[in-house]
Symmetry: C2
Subunit: 153 residues, 2 copies
């Protein structure tokens, strides 16, 4: 895996990831810690809620997407450093037994005028389940370093 | 704590939360599971990175914000169900030893034309550290149920 610098990115490139499986136990464990609501905690109680059954917290989907990105193909030399998101949506819930992967597309590459050693890339990432249905859709900006200039002497 | 229905929300209302402390161990544990990058994993290695020291994953900040919201004052009767975010930013990192709380402001209340039993509220949430510095700024939309109509007979 080659570390990527700002100059290596261009709009239209796509990058993939490995896969991660999501179990009922993990959904309940994450929710217990961070999002303790019935539809994330209890398969029985979840049946009569908005979700109609146990669903992962959106923040677990987001955290698992990050795990897939860090282990995936789109790896800036300075790491994956999110400056912020312009949108983050969960069009459908993640269910126990789902297997997720991520596909990212570079939308824009901008060098920084004030800091010539870095820039930003705008990235759309789709997190997909095993049926290739989108469970998370995000557009975010990452800080990416420029390729170091080698000085001769 | 009274459960809140769509009719109980109006633009301009603000809601608070309790507090949560963030330890170095928790930062490293979360990062190991979801965001294994040097600046989130290793206080020594983090010194020479963009963050200049150990920093929590933004997704941990987001998950802890959710925990504070679920235990906080802004509790729709159907739970806190995020339809999606229009923006999500981390203006400064969360550091070991920080204590966080959340302040949310209702920006907009919309009833649903197609589903009269529910609507959406647009909420800006600021997650603040112990110095009242913003560590997360989000604008999101929540699905909220309308107050049930009691039928007479």
């Amino acid at each position: 895996m080659t570390a990527l610098y700002l100059e290596d990115f261009e709009a239209g490139q796509t990058f993939g990831s490995g896969e991660v499986a999501v179990t009922e136990d993990e959904i309940i464990r994450f929710a217990t810690q961070f999002d303790p609501q019935p539809f994330h905690l209890d398969p029985e109680a979840a049946k009569v809620t908005f979700f109609g059954g146990l669903a992962a917290s959106g923040w677990q989907t987001a955290a698992l997407t990050m795990k897939l990105l860090v282990g995936g193909e789109m790896l800036p030399a300075n790491g994956i450093i999110g400056a912020g998101f312009e949108s983050l949506n969960w069009p459908r819930p993640v269910r126990p037994g789902d297997t997720l992967h991520v596909v990212s597309e570079i939308l824009e590459v901008r060098s920084s005028k004030s800091r010539p050693t870095q820039g930003m890339i705008k990235v759309r990432s789709h997190t997909l389940n095993q049926k290739d249905e989108v469970v998370q859709d995000s557009v975010g900006n990452l800080v990416v370093v420029a390729r170091p200039v080698r000085t001769s002497r």
